[in-house]
Amino acid sequence: MNLAEQQLGLSQHAGNAHPYLQIVDIEKKFGDHTAVDHVNLNIERNEIFALLGSSGCGKSTLLRMLAGMEKPSAGRIILDGEDITDLPPYHRPINMMFQSYALFPHMSVAQNIAFGLKQDRLPRADIDARVERMLELVQMTKYAHRKPYQLSGGQQQRIALARSLAKRPKLLLLDEPLGALDKKLRQQTQLELVSMIEQVGVTCIMVTHDQEEAMTMAGRIGIMSEGQLLQVASPGDIYEHPNCRFTAEFIGETNLFGGHVVEDEADHVCIQAAELPRPVRIGHGITGTLGMPVWLSLRPERVAVSRQQPTQQHNWAAGTVSDIAYLGSFSIFHVRLESGKVIKASVPASHWRDEAAPGWNQPVFVSWADNDAVVLTQ
């Protein structure tokens, strides 16, 4: 709520530069279950935004409310200065690419793309020209007269994209855009899809449960859990500066420690974690108080593994190697600390140039730098 007011306040200060899409305090209830819980979000023009979360987190419901297929229980949706909250789907300047593509099986590829244009009663010549352009964009000109069932999954996906772009929507919604493709094709298609969207220059919101997909394709990511939007930031910020435990655990791998603040200075803080032998020193101040319970997130690639005892005063612990996952260019070491906690460290292969890599059950030391651990207050 506070965050939302800040965001809205900021945008008003910026004068006429309203956000392109404003989602204001949207809520959706199904019976007594709250699927979307007071979400506030601003999207800029031509942005590619990803809503990321596990299934049932409310991301699809939010998307369906944008498309007009669900009515919000409360809140407003404002697109390009126009309040569209109460508009039915067929009056919204928004088009969606469905997860299963939802191509019309009784129509050819060209007829599918022309569907929305025909509905708008555009002149025949205009429709043909625009279908032609769309087919060129998705490189499917050769397949104009095929029926959807004669196309592969990847080709169907392109047609679905072409169909949703044909009406030149103000907002493009992608529901798990690559979910129906196999993994290899997915990776290849991610950047292709982005380049097509950017070529057209359309504002785009996608929903996905695949963090790699979100990080590759989107400029900003919103993490959703249990109907709430937990964090909105660039892929880099989401990974490096998660604002809560959920985000830290959801995105990538991390080591989490519960603890409390034992030293609170302007330029550094120290946090005592029960599972670590000595306080963790963080090289910057935090908004918090002495004794406050916090969580520490320490990414595996930030943890160094060594046979020599580190000389630094803080941020290290002794343990034994309990498991090694060798992945070629790097290895994941599972180090069991004296407290019994197992800490994961991903160590690049080049690290073992000067000393031999430790083996199973050997004593090692793990260490990290002052700013490597992230303090999570939520």
Partner: protein, 323 residues
């Protein structure tokens, strides 16, 4: 299939000659799949095609006072085999207005019945298909409920409703809407009403099974692309339910053309339908060859257009594949 794949596989080169020989003879065995499909076809061949050929044969013979009451097509005198094909039945059939009227009357009655069944059945099937799963079975059961009683009993029930002293007339008289009973029984209207009643489930069931398969996301996609709900129905639901409409229409139209019981019980004596003519030729006139000819022409009237439409569709599909 499997054996062929195995022999093409490089690993098969390693197989011993004996192993290869074993695979080779297995190829000549009839496949289980073929056996399973052959059985229903065998059944149809035996109990549909063979009797049909008998009827075809009889339609080319001549009536005779004998048992059976027609002359055999093949006769032998000494070493000569005589084949006597009598085309007179067909000439008579096409020459007499009675038969043509009966055919046209039947086709018209069946067409109107099919159309009304479609108009009534589509909304019912659509509603059932869109109903929540828990209600769906109940609604389907209601459609099939009439089948639990005998067809004849249901037609008699309609006689009780439509009669001059029937339920409907009594109700209308009591409400003061009419002074004298309406003549409903033994009219074209009564035949039409009972035909629609009797054949409606045969329209609903195939339509339902087609509409139940419709992917709701297609309708969402249509609305997303600018269709109001009724436009989405016209552009997506209706064309996609075409196969259900065709199946339902056939299931209603084909038996309706040959319907005998309903016009006999609630119809007028004057308006002849082909089922009635067939009955008369066979049982009253004891003219088997004529009855055979009437049957053959009726089957031809039904099969030729259907085969033509089917072939045309196949051709269109093949063209679409080629493009």
């Amino acid at each position: 299939m499997n054996s062929r794949l195995l022999t093409q596989h490089p690993a098969a080169n390693l197989a011993t000659a004996r192993g290869r020989a074993r695979l080779a003879w297995r190829r000549w065995l009839p496949r289980g799949q073929a056996l399973v499909t052959a059985m229903p076809y065998g059944w149809l061949l035996l109990f549909f095609l063979v009797p049909f050929l008998f009827v075809l044969g009889i339609s080319f013979s001549e009536v005779e006072v004998a048992s059976p009451p027609y002359r055999a097509l093949l006769s032998r005198s000494e070493d000569v085999l005589n084949v006597a094909l009598n085309l007179g039945n067909y000439r008579y059939l096409f020459g007499d207005a009675l038969y043509l009227d009966a055919y046209l009357g039947s086709l018209q009655m069946a067409s109107i019945t099919t159309l009304i069944c479609l108009l009534l059945g589509y909304p019912i099937a659509y509603t059932i298909a869109r109903a929540p799963l828990t209600k769906r079975n109940t609604l389907l059961m209601l459609v099939m409920l009439p089948f639990w009683t005998s067809f004849l009993v249901r037609v008699y029930a309609w006689m009780g409703i439509l009669d001059n002293e029937g339920l409907l007339n009594k109700l209308l008289l009591q409400l003061g809407l009419i002074d004298t009973p309406l003549q409903l029984m033994h009219t074209q209207l009564s035949v039409q009403i009972v035909m629609v009643y009797a054949y409606l489930p045969f329209m609903i069931l195939p339509l339902f099974s087609n509409l139940a398969k419709l992917d709701g996301r297609l309708l969402e996609a249509a609305e997303d692309l600018g269709c109001r709900p009724w436009q989405a129905f016209l552009r997506v639901t209706l064309p996609l339910s075409r196969n259900g409409i065709v199946a339902g229409a056939m299931l209603v139209f084909i038996p309706a053309v040959g319907e005998f019981v309903i016009p006999e019980l609630v119809g007028t004596p004057e308006s002849l339908m082909i089922g009635k003519v067939l009955w008369m030729e066979f049982f009253d006139n004891n003219n088997w060859p004529m009855a055979g000819a009437v049957t053959i022409v009726m089957v031809a009237l039904l099969i030729i257009p259907i085969t033509y439409l089917h072939k045309r569709e196949e051709k269109q599909l093949a063209q679409a594949e080629q493009r």
